[in-house]
C-alpha cells in the first residue's frame, strides 16, 4: 500500500448519498473477455464502479478525463483524495488501492519521465525545486513544487481544465501575493496550457516503450548500503520474496558503521513496473520506502523515511548479491594521517589481503555477508590524496582519501526550513551535516577539491541578521543537538516574544571543527517558520 499521508476526515452523508446516486446510472458492465492480467481486469472493474458515475466511460476502458492523464502513484492518490473529499466519492480503502495500482500501471510515468521529480516522491527535505524558466516558478511553484507539475503527463486541453480546477476550487488564488501582481488567470489559461502540454504531453515514446516492455522483478538477494544523515553509513543485506502479483516481502538486515545492527521486514508493492513502495517498522518507527528498480533489475535506489515525519530518513542503494567480485563502498572514506581507525568495506566476493596503498597498513577484523570490517593505520607522513582500495584481486579507484587536515567545511543543506510543531502537527526538524574537503595544494597530488565525507563537528546556532538579534531568535526558535539535528520550538503565539509572535526565526547554523587549536567553520541558513496544515504526498 502506498502512503497517502493525508489525515482522513469522515465524509458527509449528503455527499456520500450524492455519489451513490451517481452510481445508479454507472453501467456495471460485464468485463470484456480479453486475456488481460487478473490484476488489470479487477482494476478496470473497480475503476468503472467508483469513477464512471462522473467520468463517463465513453468507449470501453476509456473514461472521460481520467483516461487522458498519466501520473505517479502518489499523484493518483492525491487526485483520488480530492474526488473523495471535495466531490464526495465514497471509496473503500481496498478499492482505492486497486484503482491506484491499476491507474499507476496503465497510466503511469516511464522511469525517465519520473526521474527529475523523484526527490519529491522521496520526500527529500530542503532540495531545491526543478528549474523551469522564469514564469512557472512564480505562476505555479509558489504554492507547491514544480516537481508536482513535472510528475504528470497530459495534453494542453487537460492542463487548461486543471487551471479551471485551481481557480474554481481556490477562488482566492488570483488575489494572493505573486498572483495579484500579474494577470495570473489570463496567463494560466492562454500561454501555459500549450507550454505544459509541450513539456509534459500525454503520449510519449518513453511511455509507449515502457508500457509495452516486460519488467524485471525485484525478487532475490541484494546487498544494501546507504546513509542516514546525522547517524552515518549503514550496510547490509536484503532478501525479496514474491507474495503475489507485484507484491513482495522484503527482509532487511543492516549494520550501521557505528556497529549497531537492526532488522526489519517490509511489505512492498511494485507500481508501474519499477516504483517500489514499502512499509516497514524499524526500531519501532513506522517507515515508508520509495525506491526505483532499475530497468535491468540490477539496482534499487531511493529513500526511506519516518512515516510521520518524512524529513527524517536515509538514502538507499541496493545491488544484486550475486555478480562479479566488486568493492562497492568504503566507510568512512577519509583516513587521517597518523591515526588508526576502523573502516567498513562493502562489496561482493571480498576475499584476500586488504590494501589502502603506500603508507598504510590494513588488517581484517571481521567479515559479514557483503562486508569486511578492517582496521587501517596511516603513517603520519603518508601522501595525501585519493587512494585505490583492494581486497585480494578486487580493486576500486578513488574509494578512500588520506588527509592531514580538513581545508574546508561545507554545511548541507545550505538553505533549510524547519517548522514549529504543536497540537496534532509534529514539528518539521532539519538535519545538518558538515562535509570536509581537501583543497588543491602545490606540494601534493591533490589537484581539485576532494570530498572527505561528513565530519564530526560541533554545532551552534547564531542570529542570521540584525532583526534576528533583536527578536532573540536563537533563544526562541529551537535548538540543535550534537548530531546536527535542529528541533524547532512549539507552535502558536509565544507571550514571551514581542507582539506575542510565534517561534519563527532566521538563523545561521554553524559547524566548527577544532584542528589542533585552529578552528575551521562552515555555515548554513535556516529559516524556522509556521506549520503546514496538510501534508500531501507530493509537496
Amino acid at each position: 500500500m502506498i502512503q497517502s499521508g493525508i489525515e482522513r476526515k469522515p465524509r458527509s452523508r449528503a455527499a456520500a448519498a450524492l455519489v451513490a446516486a451517481a452510481f445508479l446510472y454507472a453501467p456495471l458492465q460485464a468485463l470484456a473477455a480479453e486475456p488481460a492480467l487478473a490484476d488489470a481486469s479487477a482494476g478496470l472493474a473497480t475503476t468503472r464502479t467508483y469513477c464512471a458515475g462522473c467520468h463517463t466511460e465513453s468507449s470501453p476502458a476509456h473514461f472521460q478525463r481520467l483516461s487522458v492523464i498519466r501520473k505517479s502513484p502518489e499523484g493518483w492518490v492525491m487526485t483520488i483524495f480530492r474526488m473523495e473529499h471535495v466531490h464526495g466519492l465514497a471509496l473503500p480503502e481496498e478499492a482505492r488501492d486497486t484503482i491506484v495500482k491499476y491507474l499507476a500501471d496503465t497510466q503511469g510515468l516511464a522511469p525517465s519521465e519520473s526521474a527529475a521529480g523523484r526527490f519529491a516522491l522521496e520526500r527529500r527535505p530542503n532540495v531545491p525545486d526543478l528549474q523551469m524558466g522564469d514564469d512557472l516558478p512564480v505562476m505555479c511553484g509558489r504554492c507547491h513544487s514544480l516537481a508536482r507539475v513535472a510528475l504528470q503527463r497530459r495534453d494542453a486541453d487537460e492542463w487548461l481544465k486543471h487551471m479551471h480546477m485551481h481557480v474554481g476550487q481556490f477562488p482566492s488564488l488570483e488575489y494572493q501575493a505573486s498572483s495579484r501582481d500579474r494577470y495570473w488567470w489570463q496567463t494560466a489559461t492562454t500561454v501555459l496550457p500549450g507550454k505544459l502540454g509541450g513539456l509534459f504531453p500525454f503520449d510519449t515514446p518513453e511511455w509507449r516503450d515502457w508500457k509495452a516492455g516486460t519488467h524485471a522483478q525485484p525478487t532475490g538477494e541484494w546487498l544494501v548500503r546507504g546513509r542516514t544523515p546525522g547517524r552515518g553509513d549503514y550496510f547490509g543485506t536484503l532478501r525479496v520474496a514474491s507474495q503475489g502479483p507485484d507484491a513482495y516481502s522484503a527482509q532487511w538486515s543492516v549494520q550501521y558503521a557505528d556497529g549497531k545492527a537492526s532488522r526489519a521486514t517490509s511489505k512492498v508493492r511494485l507500481y508501474t513496473g519499477y516504483e517500489w513502495r514499502g512499509t516497514s517498522e524499524w526500531e519501532s518507527t513506522e517507515v515508508r520506502e520509495v525506491f526505483a528498480l532499475s530497468a535491468d533489475g540490477q539496482r534499487l535506489s531511493g529513500r526511506w523515511f519516518d512515516a510521520q515525519r518524512a524529513e527524517i530518513g536515509g538514502d538507499l542503494t541496493a545491488e544484486r548479491a550475486d555478480g562479479p567480485a566488486a568493492i562497492l563502498a568504503v566507510s568512512p572514506r577519509a583516513l587521517k594521517a597518523g591515526t588508526t581507525q576502523e573502516v567498513v568495506i562493502a562489496g561482493r566476493g571480498l576475499k584476500g589481503a586488504v590494501s589502502f596503498g603506500p603508507g598504510t597498513k590494513a588488517t581484517t577484523l571481521a567479515t559479514a555477508p557483503g562486508m569486511l570490517r578492517v582496521s587501517v593505520s596511516v603513517d603520519a607522513k603518508a601522501a595525501i590524496g585519493e587512494r585505490s582500495v583492494s581486497v585480494g584481486k578486487t580493486a576500486a579507484a578513488q574509494m578512500a582519501v588520506v588527509y592531514d587536515q580538513v581545508d574546508r567545511l561545507q554545511v548541507l543543506p545550505g538553505n533549510a526550513i524547519a517548522r514549529v510543531g504543536g497540537g496534532k502537527i509534529a514539528p518539521v526538524t532539519a538535519q545538518f551535516e558538515a562535509f570536509g574537503f581537501l583543497e588543491p595544494r602545490p606540494d601534493s597530488a591533490v589537484r581539485t577539491p576532494i570530498a572527505l565525507g561528513p565530519m564530526n563537528v560541533r554545532w551552534k546556532l547564531a542570529p542570521r541578521n540584525e532583526e534576528a538579534v533583536k527578536a532573540d531568535d536563537v533563544k526562541f526558535a529551537g535548538s540543535i543537538d550534537a548530531s546536527g539535528q535542529f528541533m524547532p520550538g512549539a507552535a502558536g503565539p509565544n507571550p514571551e516574544r514581542k507582539y506575542a509572535s510565534n517561534n519563527a526565526g532566521d538563523l545561521s547554523v554553524i559547524a566548527s571543527l577544532d584542528q589542533g587549536g585552529k578552528e575551521l567553520k562552515g555555515d548554513s541558513h535556516l529559516i524556522v517558520t509556521v506549520q503546514r496544515w496538510n501534508t500531501p504526498p507530493i509537496y
Binding site: 462522473c54 478525463r65 479551471h164 481557480v167 474554481g168 488570483e174 488575489y175 501575493a177 495579484r180 501582481d181
Partner: protein, 363 residues
C-alpha cells in the same frame, strides 16, 4: 435564531424607547463580525456589547460588512463568500438574503460587496464557476445588483460583466456609480454597468515606482467618506540599483472621486489596513503596530507596538478615538494623540473576528 442582547442604550437609540422625552444624542456603535455567525453591535463609549446577533446559515464564515451611515441594516458576506445576509440592526432579524450560488453554478464574492448610500441597492462582485459532472468551468466575473427590499430570496435585478480580481466595491456618494478596486481602480455606471473610467493602480503613472501592491479588503470609508488603503512599491529601482520599498497611502474621496497617493515612509512595518480621521491631517494604520500618519506633511507621525495583530482600524465620528478590531476576539480603543490604549474589550465567548470588517455607525 437571533438572540439580541438588547441593552438599554441601544434600545433607546435605535427604537426611540417610546417615552424618551428628548432624542438622545447620537452615539457611535461599532459593528464587527465573528465566527461562527456573530454580528456584534458595540456601544463605543461604554465599551460594551449592545447586541450579539446571530446570522442564520453563516456556515461558520463571517466576512465583509457593508452598511449605510444611518446603520439600519448591515449586509454581511457569509457562507464562505457565497451568501449575503442583511441583518436589521434594531431587531437582529434577517431582512435580506441573497444566496449567490444557484444550481450547478457556484458563486463566490471575494469581499466585493457594498451598499449604495441610500441603502437601496446592493452591489456584489461575483466569481462564478460551473461545477459539471467531471469538470470545473471558471466563468467570467460579473457585477450583480440587488434591490435591498427583495427579501429573503433575493435575485439580482441586473448583472453586467466585471474585470477579474476585484476585491473591493465602493459606491460613490451620489449613488450613480461605483468604484471597483483590483488591477485598476475602475468606475462603473450603476444603472448601465458601463465602464466609466479606469484609473491608475496598475498604470498609476508614477515614474520611478514599481507597480503598487494593493489588497486590503476592508471597505471602510467612515467617518470621512474617504476610503484609504496602504500600497507598497519599489522606488528608484533599475540599472543595478535594488531601490527601496515605500509605503504609501492611497485615498479615494467617494464624494468627489479624487484619488491620491501619498508616500509616507520606507516600508519598515507591514500595515494591513488604514482609516482616515476627521481630524485634519491624521490617518491610522494597523497590523502588529498602530501607525499614525501625518497626511499634511506625508510622513510617519508615530508608531506603537500592539499586544497582537489587528487587521482592521476605524475611528469614532469625532476622530477622538481609534478602534482596532479583526483577527482575534478583542476590540482595542486608542488615544489618537498619545497612541496609548484607553481600553480593551473582549467579545463574549472570545470568538475570532478573523477577516471580518469593523464598521462604525451612528445612531
Amino acid at each position: 435564531m437571533n438572540r439580541p442582547l438588547i441593552l438599554c442604550g441601544l434600545a433607546l437609540a435605535l427604537l426611540g424607547c417610546g417615552s424618551a422625552p428628548t432624542r438622545a444624542p447620537l452615539r457611535d456603535y461599532i459593528l464587527t463580525g465573528a465566527k461562527p455567525d456573530h454580528l456584534f453591535v458595540i456601544d463605543a463609549a461604554s465599551r460594551s456589547v449592545a447586541s450579539d446577533f446571530r446570522i442564520p446559515e453563516a456556515n461558520g464564515w463571517v466576512g465583509s460588512i457593508a452598511t449605510t451611515a444611518d446603520g439600519k441594516v448591515a449586509y454581511v458576506l457569509v457562507n464562505r463568500m457565497e451568501s449575503i445576509a442583511g441583518i436589521d440592526l434594531t431587531t437582529g432579524k434577517q431582512v435580506f438574503r441573497a444566496d449567490l450560488s444557484q444550481g450547478n453554478e457556484r458563486v463566490k464574492s471575494f469581499f466585493g460587496i457594498n451598499v449604495t448610500p441610500d441603502g437601496k441597492q446592493l452591489i456584489v462582485y461575483e466569481l462564478p464557476t460551473l461545477l459539471e459532472l467531471n469538470e470545473y468551468k471558471v466563468q467570467e466575473p460579473r457585477f450583480a445588483i440587488f434591490d435591498t427590499s427583495a427579501g429573503l430570496a433575493a435575485k439580482p435585478v441586473r448583472q453586467f460583466p466585471a474585470p477579474r480580481r476585484v476585491h473591493m466595491i465602493l459606491p460613490k456618494k451620489d449613488g450613480l456609480s461605483f468604484f471597483a478596486l483590483g488591477f485598476q481602480l475602475y468606475e462603473f455606471d450603476l444603472a448601465s454597468g458601463k465602464l466609466l473610467q479606469e484609473r491608475g493602480v496598475r498604470d498609476w503613472n508614477r515614474p520611478d515606482y514599481s507597480l503598487p501592491d494593493v489588497l486590503a479588503f476592508w471597505p471602510v470609508s467612515e467617518p470621512t467618506g474617504v476610503f484609504s488603503t496602504p500600497t507598497y512599491s519599489m522606488h528608484g529601482a533599475g540599472e543595478g540599483k535594488p531601490g527601496v520599498q515605500r509605503t504609501s497611502l492611497m485615498t479615494l474621496d467617494l464624494g468627489s472621486g479624487a484619488l491620491s497617493y501619498q508616500d509616507f515612509e520606507d516600508t519598515v512595518a507591514l500595515i494591513f489596513s488604514t482609516a482616515i480621521s476627521p481630524v485634519k491631517g491624521q490617518a491610522f494604520g494597523v497590523y502588529t503596530q498602530l501607525t499614525k500618519i501625518d497626511t499634511v506633511k506625508g510622513v510617519l507621525a508615530d508608531r506603537v507596538d500592539l499586544a497582537h495583530t489587528f487587521y482592521t482600524v476605524n475611528l469614532s465620528s469625532d476622530g477622538k478615538e481609534v478602534f482596532l478590531g479583526g483577527t482575534t476576539c478583542d476590540i482595542a480603543f486608542y488615544d489618537p494623540d498619545t497612541l496609548k490604549q484607553r481600553a480593551n474589550m473582549k467579545l463574549p465567548g472570545c470568538p475570532d473576528q478573523s477577516i471580518s470588517t469593523m464598521r462604525v455607525i451612528r445612531r
